[in-house]
């Protein structure tokens, strides 16, 4: 899989949810390139091109990060915080997709800069509809920032390091 074509980074620990999400996304033909990570640490590695993902570059961020909150190792909230606090990654749309509808999670997520907060519906049809809508919106309708700016920002961030 070539890194420049990545559409979605799915951060999800439950294999069932992964299956269902993937199934939906594929069925709706919304995303062709989906990468799945199973915990927060792996997600951070992927986004910040660490560990197993050192070969990745910031120049090809995922078009969308679907992030669960309850994750092994590193909490989803932490992942969100890290993404949104780094100038290189903060423009990446992060959609929190979780089972919980806790008010405080909602507030905390938005405070940390989440682009959207979605509760996974129990009903599969609704779930499918939700995933489809999210994919449609972020991958098709939404206009992402121009890459040059992003690279520029990334460059700046590097300089500061």
């Amino acid at each position: 899989m070539s890194s420049e074509e990545l559409d979605i980074l799915l951060v999800e620990d439950s294999p069932e949810d992964v299956d269902l999400a993937l199934h939906t996304l594929e069925r709706e033909k919304l995303a062709n390139h989906i990468f799945v990570v199973r915990d927060g640490a792996e997600a951070l590695d992927f986004i910040f091109c660490h560990g197993a993902f050192t070969h990745r570059s910031f120049e090809h961020p995922p078009k969308l990060v679907l992030l669960d909150l309850k994750l092994p190792k590193v909490d989803g909230m932490e992942v969100l915080k890290r993404i949104k606090s780094d100038p290189r990654t903060k423009t990446i749309p992060v959609v929190i997709m979780t089972s919980s509808k806790e008010e405080r999670d909602l507030v905390a997520s938005y405070n940390l800069g989440a682009n959207s907060y979605i509760q996974k519906p129990v009903d599969f049809d609704q779930f499918r509809e939700t995933v489809k809508t999210v994919g449609l919106y972020w991958l098709v309708i939404n206009q992402p920032p121009v890459m040059e700016d992003q690279q520029h920002l990334a460059g700046l961030a590097h300089d500061r390091h």
């Binding site: 949810d17 299956d19 269902l20 089972s99 919980s100 129990v122 009903d123 599969f124």
Partner: protein, 1546 residues
């Protein structure tokens, strides 16, 4: 016609019916016949009364007035024509079937055809109507009347039977087999769902009604109601209904009428009414009356207007589906019927009033023109003109308003129509879009299918789709031409569609040409293109959806407006019509009342005429009797002087029988010489208008008896004109005797009159009846003044009884002769009269009065009196005569009496010698004077015979003889001795009086002086309280002088008080007042002088004053100023009191001191506080037992520095010894006030005590410290308790901390639990749902149906579980949620929730009624949850209601909090289970009926309780439920403080 007239007459006014009239006329006839029996001279004018009005002819005229014959004829012709028309319709219909020309049965309004049976019935009905069109009488004159009637009846009966059978067919849904009796009707010729040839149910109804009407055509009820007309009206309504059905909803089978039959029924119904025009509505239809005219004019107009209005609004009414066509038709017919009914009603009222007016006019005998003409000229009364103006104005306003409403309604209808069109248009666009998308899909699927499989059938949809897409695009272009939003999207859409088609074409061609399936890239590209097209179409659809929503809303609004306008219009119409009706009926009432009054007056007049007539008859009879029995002769002659009446008195007087006299000339009874004069007199009288007068001056009339004897008469003549002839009636009387008597009387009267004696006649009661000339002269009164008065007028009061006695005597029959008495003249002088009185008797000898002849004898009496007097004077005068030589020549008795000398002794004696006269001057001088003047006067002193001297006043008169020689001297002496002596005495008395007055004056002056100078006040008053004396001191003491006032005002005027100085002195108790009442008193009082000087105390002694006779004549009061004495007394008394008080006080204080000391001692001994006092020398003076008990020691004599050590004083820490300078007592001895806590421990108190001590110095009056006192108490117990409390508090705090920590942990745990529940519990559910779904989707085909069903169960289970988890979490969250209240507008929250619930309202009719809710302080998030749960519940449980009504309101406050209320009209619940309502998982309905978890209301309750509020519900099964809640106390306080803000926000 005759019978009808009868009916009309009976209907109109039974009171006026002919029999009654004939009765009254008959009565009059009779009375005039009775008058026919009167004497001939009264019959002449009798015919005038006999004017019998031709009432029957009038009634006839009235009836023919009512019906317009032309109209009746026309209506009859119309009836015939309508019958013919119906037959023609039927024949035409049958011809249509025969010739298969459908238009003959539809008349151009398809789809319903006139079925053969209906056509046949029309013919039968037409025939029946034709045969029955004439009225009964007329009909009976026609040939074959019986047969015609029979045929008509049979026709009608057949139709009726058919109608009934058809009705049975419709009701029972069975086939009786006669539908196609006449023609075989093909199946396509009838409405779906109906057998061909079946008559419509509405037509059947019309058949029954019409045929029944025809059968009852000649029948009327006993009250004259014609039933057939109502059946005809009903038929018309049914026909209109059927027609509406045809126009509006022809597809509704059974009710729809064919157009020809509807028209035929209407015409037949009208014709039926026209056949008896005079019967319709009681003859109103054909009447000429104003009401009928109104009816004929207004009803068609009203129906036309109604039709137009109905037509204009029917479309939106129906298209907007607010009304079904049945409702609309019923509404229309109802409105029409209402309108027609109302107009008819008004017409009836107008008609009645018109008839009444007509009758009134006739009764008054005024022709219509006469009645109209003067009325036209007459000025309308003010009030009526006003009323008419108001009515006109009201009508104008009504017309304007109605027009406006009609216009608005028309506009709104158009608007609604337009909007509906727009909605349809939007729908079209949406459909077109969908079609296009489908076609595109077809193209795509077809192409792909073909490409993948190469199978040709796939190409079919591809090809059709390809062309259809182009067409769709064209259609779309047309449809959205007006929409600028959509137009620009068409181009890209076309491009995308084209691209898609192109790509598909490529694939297809590739497959066709190269036979290879498309590459993945191609497929992908195709899909992308497809997606693009899809999204564009989706966008367009969205726009259309949006538009649709807008337009639907607009259309709804327009419809709503329209409906409200219609409702308003109808309401206004009803109001205006009611007002009009009311006004008209009131007018009619007024006119009816007026008419009733006229009737009453008429009746009264008639009654009076009858009475008069009867009276006249009576009087005629009486008159005849009178004439015959009159004592005066009565003779009536005609103009030729021929006698026509000669009564019995005339017979007697003229001594000629009536039979002889009648018919003869009157001249026979008149002396020859008077003939000419008589004729002239009669002639002249005949020319005057005078009816009655005396014939000639008295004494000039003479008559001739039959025997030729002439006699004098008195006569009066009267004339009457009867029957154009003049009759003279003479009443005459023989007055010969009377004239003679009168002459005799006159002679007597003259004698009486001219007698000089007063001749008066009077009645027995003394009233004067005659008064002659003599009486006038004697008494001064004229006859006119005296006659009628009483006799006592001329009797002096003192002799009043005399007259009564005389009258009494006369009444007894006696008489009085020459009785001399005194009477009074008019001028008041008394005169002497001699009266002779004799009784006057009437013819029967009864005494009725008295005549009195009085002669004035005053002169005689006077003369007699004068002589008598002279003699007396001479006798009594002391006069004697002496000659010139002074010899006494005449010595009368008076002189003898005076001097005592008899005449023998005196005569011839020298008078001076006799009397020893002492002269005042020398005799010579006297004599000389006498001779000169003939007179001397002077005082002489004479000696009487007894020797006594007397002083006489002497007057000497010289008497000369005729030659002037003195012959004698007349000496008159009057004894003045007594008067002389009296004068002397008087002068003595006078001088004495003068002396005594002087003495009195001096006395008074002195007295005054004394009074004025005495120190005491003196006041005296007479009995009436007028002050006589008021001396200076009194003035000083009282502050004022004597003011003459009533005694009651003395107190306020002089400001007199009781000695207390406050109470005003009671005026009746004042000393002087009491003295005036005879009391002697001594009192003290106080006077407040003016100018605010200090008040004076006075001692007043008052005594009554008595006059010489001992009577009370006044009172005197002596005022003594005792002010000073009073003051001194008061001062002394004060001092004494003060002294005794002081003494008492001294005693008391000593006792008190003793008591105090004792008490102090005992107190000191008994108090629990220790008390120790030390003097300045540090020596203990007090040491109470408590001190010893607490400290363990008694007082010590040690110096103060050793005290702490001696008593073992420590600081409260129990270990640090107290320094001497810290000792409170020592500090107090140094002048310091202090308190301290100490611990005492010494050998006597080994366990030690805590004491609290307070000490203060003892300071004497001079401020020097004399010692110190210390009080202290044992506080050891307090100390222990305090410690314990401290210990407990500490423990508690620890426990609270522990508990809090525990709680915190639990809370955390709970939170973690719910968090993980929220997170982890849902995930597996989702997985189950997901995979089971996938299982169905992907392997559905391979699953047996049973398995599929299980999977569905799994899915619904998971969904339900998901819902449960969500709501439980919600509930838990609510519990944890910290309340974050702020002022919230609940209406906003409700609006949000309603919007949120909108999707659930889709396809339902939901009516939200949301009132203004007050702002409250609450947590908006939680309260929104409450509203959401409650409103969602309401929505859920009203699912089966249409419309669902959900009401949100704020009720009245409960405990100061507003009660919010959510009410629905849903299924409600049984109040039995109300306790369960708010429990978790408690449900009152089954899951199949209403889904739900049973947590929502628990959440609501939790939130409300969190707000310290209350939530409850009321409901009834199937009646809806109401939920109430309040939001509690802590929020309210805040909301109040934020009230201004909240108010400002609203």
């Amino acid at each position: 016609m005759k019978s009808m007239r009868q009916v009309l007459l009976e209907e109109d006014n039974p009171a006026k019916a002919p029999p009654a009239r004939e009765g009254s006329a008959g009565r009059r006839l009779q009375s005039s016949r009775a008058s026919g029996g009167n004497p001939p001279w009264f019959t002449s004018g009798g015919e005038d009364i006999l004017d019998i009005p031709d009432l029957t002819s009038k009634a006839r005229q009235q009836t023919s007035d009512r019906c317009d014959p032309r109209l009746v004829r026309r209506l009859n012709v119309f009836a015939s024509a309508s019958a013919g028309f119906a037959v023609a319709v039927g024949l035409l219909g049958l011809a249509g079937w025969e010739l298969h020309i459908a238009s003959l049965d539809t008349w151009g309004i398809p789809p319903v055809r006139l079925v053969p049976n209906t056509a046949a019935s029309c013919i039968l009905l037409g025939v029946a109507l034709w045969l029955l069109r004439r009225e009964k009488e007329e009909e009976s004159r026609q040939p074959f009347a019986g047969a015609r009637k029979l045929i008509a009846r049979i026709s009608a009966a057949i139709v009726c039977l058919m109608g009934v059978l058809v009705a049975v067919e419709h009701i029972c849904a069975c086939d009786l087999g006669f539908d196609q009796l006449l023609f075989a009707v093909p199946g396509a010729e009838r409405m779906p769902g109906l057998r061909p040839g079946l008559v419509a149910s509405s037509s059947a109804c019309a058949f029954i009604l019409l045929s029944t009407a025809l059968l009852l055509l000649n029948y009327k009820t006993r009250r004259g109601i014609w039933l057939a007309q109502y059946l005809a009206f009903a038929t018309a309504i049914v026909a209109i209904f059927g027609f509406f059905a045809l126009l509006i909803a022809p597809s509704v089978s059974g009710l729809t009428m064919a157009f020809p039959s509807a028209v035929a029924f209407l015409v037949l119904a009208a014709g039926l009414l026209g056949s008896r025009p005079t019967w319709v509505m009681g003859g109103l239809l054909s009447s000429q009356s104003a009401g009928a005219q109104l009816l004929r004019k207004v009803v068609p107009l009203a129906l036309l207007v109604l039709t137009l209005v109905g037509w204009s609004i029917s479309k939106p009414l129906l298209t907007e589906a607010h009304f079904t066509w049945v409702q609309a038709s019923i509404l229309a017919i109802f409105c029409g019927a209402l309108l027609v009914g109302f107009v008819t009603w008004i017409a009836f009222i107008v008609d009645r009033s018109d008839t009444e007016r007509r009758k009134a006019e006739e009764a008054l005998g005024v022709s219509k023109e006469d009645a109209d003409r003067p009325l036209g000229r007459l000025e309308e009364p003010q009030a009526e003109a006003q009323l008419r103006r108001n009515v006109n104005l009201g009508f104008a306003v009504a017309v304007l308003l109605t027009s406006l409403l009609a216009f608005l309604s028309w506009r709104a209808a158009h608007q609604a129509e337009d909007d509906a069109a727009w909605v349809a248009h939007t729908h079209e666009v949406s459909t077109a879009l969908e079609t296009m998308l489908r076609h595109l899909d077809d193209v795509e699927t077809g192409a792909r299918g073909f490409a993948l499989t190469g199978s040709e059938p796939f190409l079919e949809p591809y090809k059709t789709g390809k062309y259809a897409v182009a067409q769709d695009l064209q259609t779309l272009r047309l449809l959205v031409a007006d929409n600028s939003d959509q137009r620009p999207r068409l181009e890209p859409l076309q491009a995308e569609a084209n691209a898609r088609i192109e790509s598909a074409t490529n694939v297809v061609t590739m497959r066709q040409n190269q036979g290879k399936p498309p590459t993945e890239a191609q497929m992908e590209r195709g899909e992308q293109l497809m997606d693009a097209a899809r999204s564009t179409i989706a966008a367009m659809e969205d726009t259309e959806k949006h538009l649709l929503e807008q337009r639907t809303q607009r259309a709804r609004a327009a419809t709503r407006f329209n409906i409200s306008i219609i409702a308003l219009g109808s309401l206004l119409g009803v109001i205006f019509l009611s007002m009009a009706g009311f006004t008209v009926s009131r007018e009619v009432g007024i006119s009816a009342r007026a008419r009733a009054q006229v009737n009453t007056l008429n009746a009264e007049l008639e009654h009076r005429v009858a009475q008069r007539t009867a009276a006249l008859g009576d009087s005629e009879g009486r008159l005849a009797g009178v004439i015959q029995s009159a004592t005066d002769s009565i003779i009536t002659v005609d103009e030729e002087q021929r006698i026509v009446l000669f009564n019995s008195a005339a017979e007697r007087i003229f001594r000629c029988p009536a039979a002889e006299a009648l018919g003869q000339s009157l001249t026979r009874f008149i002396p020859q010489r008077l003939h000419a004069a008589h004729a002239e007199d009669i002639r002249r009288f005949g020319h005057t208008d005078v009816t009655n007068r005396a014939m000639a001056p008295k004494g000039l009339l003479w008559a001739l008896r039959a025997d030729g004897h002439e006699f004098q008469i008195e006569a009066s003549i009267s004339q009457v004109v009867t029957g154009g002839k003049k009759l003279f009636t003479v009443i005459l009387r023989d007055v010969t005797e009377r004239v003679q008597a009168a002459e005799a009387r006159e002679r007597l009267a003259a004698i009486v009159e001219f007698s000089d004696d007063a001749i008066i006649s009077k009645t027995l009661d003394g009233t004067i009846t005659a008064w002659n000339h003599g009486a006038e002269k004697v008494f001064g009164y004229t006859a006119s003044e005296a006659v009628g008065k009483k006799m006592w007028m001329i009797v002096p009061p003192e002799r009043a009884s005399e007259e009564s006695d005389i009258l009494a005597q006369i009444a007894r029959g006696g008489s009085v002769e020459h009785f001399e008495t005194i009477r009074v003249r008019k001028d008041g002088t008394h005169i002497d009269v001699s009266v002779t009185i004799s009784p006057i008797r009437d013819n029967n000898g009864v005494i009725v009065g008295a005549s009195k002849i009085a002669r004035d004898i005053t002169d005689r009496k006077l003369a007699e009196g004068a002589i008598r007097e002279q003699a007396q004077v001479m006798d009594s005068a002391q006069v004697f005569v002496r000659d010139m030589e002074s010899r006494v020549v005449y010595w009368p008795q008076g002189a003898e009496k005076l001097y005592g000398f008899t005449s023998q002794e005196a005569l011839g004696i020298l008078s001076h010698d006799l009397f020893h006269t002492q002269f005042p001057e020398p005799l010579e001088t006297i004599e000389k004077k006498l001779l000169e003047t003939g007179m001397w006067e002077g005082e002489l002193i004479h000696r009487k015979r007894d020797g006594g001297t007397i002083v006489v006043s002497s007057a000497w008169a010289l008497h000369r003889d005729s030659q002037g020689r003195p012959v004698r001297i007349l000496e008159t002496n009057i004894d003045i001795t007594a008067s002389k002596r009296a004068a002397e005495e008087l002068s003595v008395q006078a001088s004495e009086l003068a002396l005594s007055r002087k003495a009195l004056e001096a006395q008074t002056a002195m007295f005054q002086l004394v009074l004025d100078n005495m120190g005491e006040g003196l006041v005296a008053a007479d009995r009436e309280g007028h002050f006589l004396i008021w001396n200076n001191s009194a003035k000083k003491l009282m502050g004022r002088g004597a003011d003459d006032l009533p005694t009651e005002q003395w107190t306020p005027h002089y400001k007199i008080f009781l000695p207390d100085g406050i109470t005003p002195y009671p005026p009746d108790r004042l000393p002087l007042v009491r003295a005036l009442h005879g009391e002697s008193v001594r009192v003290e009082l106080m006077v407040q002088p003016p100018e605010n000087l200090p008040g004076k105390f006075l001692e007043v002694t008052a005594r009554p004053l008595s006059d010489a006779a001992g009577g009370l004549c006044g009172g005197v009061a002596v005022l003594h100023d005792i002010t000073e004495r009073k003051q001194v007394e008061t001062a002394l008394a004060g001092q004494a009191e003060e002294l005794s008080r002081q003494a008492e006080e001294l005693i008391r204080s000593r006792q008190a001191l003793e008591t105090q000391a004792l008490m102090l001692e005992s107190v000191l001994d008994s108090i629990s506080e220790g008390l120790v006092v030390a003097n300045e020398k540090e020596k203990f003076v007090v040491w109470n037992p408590a001190a010893e008990r607490i400290l363990g020691f008694g007082p010590t004599k040690l110096p103060s520095e050793q005290w702490p050590a001696h008593y073992g004083f420590f600081l409260p820490d129990t270990v640090t010894p107290l320094l001497p300078e810290q000792d409170p007592l020592i500090r107090a001895l140094h002048g310091e006030v202090c308190t301290a806590e100490m611990f005492v421990r010494n050998p006597k108190t080994p366990e030690g005590v805590w004491i609290e001590a307070s000490a203060s110095p003892l300071i004497d009056k001079n401020g020097i410290t004399r010692g110190g006192v210390i009080a202290f108490r044992d506080v050891s117990h307090n100390k222990v308790a305090e410690r314990e409390i401290h210990q407990l508090n500490d423990e508690l705090e620890i426990r609270v901390l522990e508990r809090t920590a525990e709680l915190k942990a639990a809370n955390k745990e709970l939170e973690a639990f719910s968090y993980s529940v929220s997170h982890d519990l849902r995930a597996p559910l989702r997985h189950i749902s997901g995979f089971s779904q996938l299982l169905v989707e992907e392997f559905g085909a391979t699953l047996v149906p049973e398995a599929q069903r299980y999977v569905e169960r799994i899915q619904s289970g998971t969904q339900r579980m998901g819902l449960l988890v969500d709501e439980l979490l919600n509930l838990a969250r609510v519990g944890r949620h910290a309340l974050n209240p702020r002022v919230t507008n609940l209406n906003d929250l409700v609006a949000e929730v309603v919007t949120m619930l909108q999707p659930e309202c889709e396809g339902r009719q939901v009516e939200w009624v949301i009132a203004d809710l007050p702002p409250v302080d609450c947590d908006p998030i939680l309260v929104k949850q409450v509203l959401q749960n409650l409103l969602a519940n309401a929505l859920k449980f009203t699912r089966h209601r249409a419309p669902s009504v959900i009401e949100v309101a704020c009720g009245k406050e409960e405990e100061g909090h507003p009660v919010f209320m959510i009410r629905d009209n849903g299924t409600g619940f049984d109040m039995k289970y109300v306790d369960k309502l708010f429990g978790v998982f408690q449900r009152l309905h089954s899951a199949e009926e209403f889904e739900g978890t049973g947590i929502g209301l628990a959440t609501v309750q939790r939130i409300v309780h969190k707000h310290e509020g209350r939530v409850w519900a009321e409901a009834e099964v199937d009646k809806g439920a109401t939920f109430y809640f309040t939001l509690g106390a802590q929020t309210e306080a805040k909301s109040k403080s934020n009230g201004a803000t909240a108010g400002g926000q609203r």
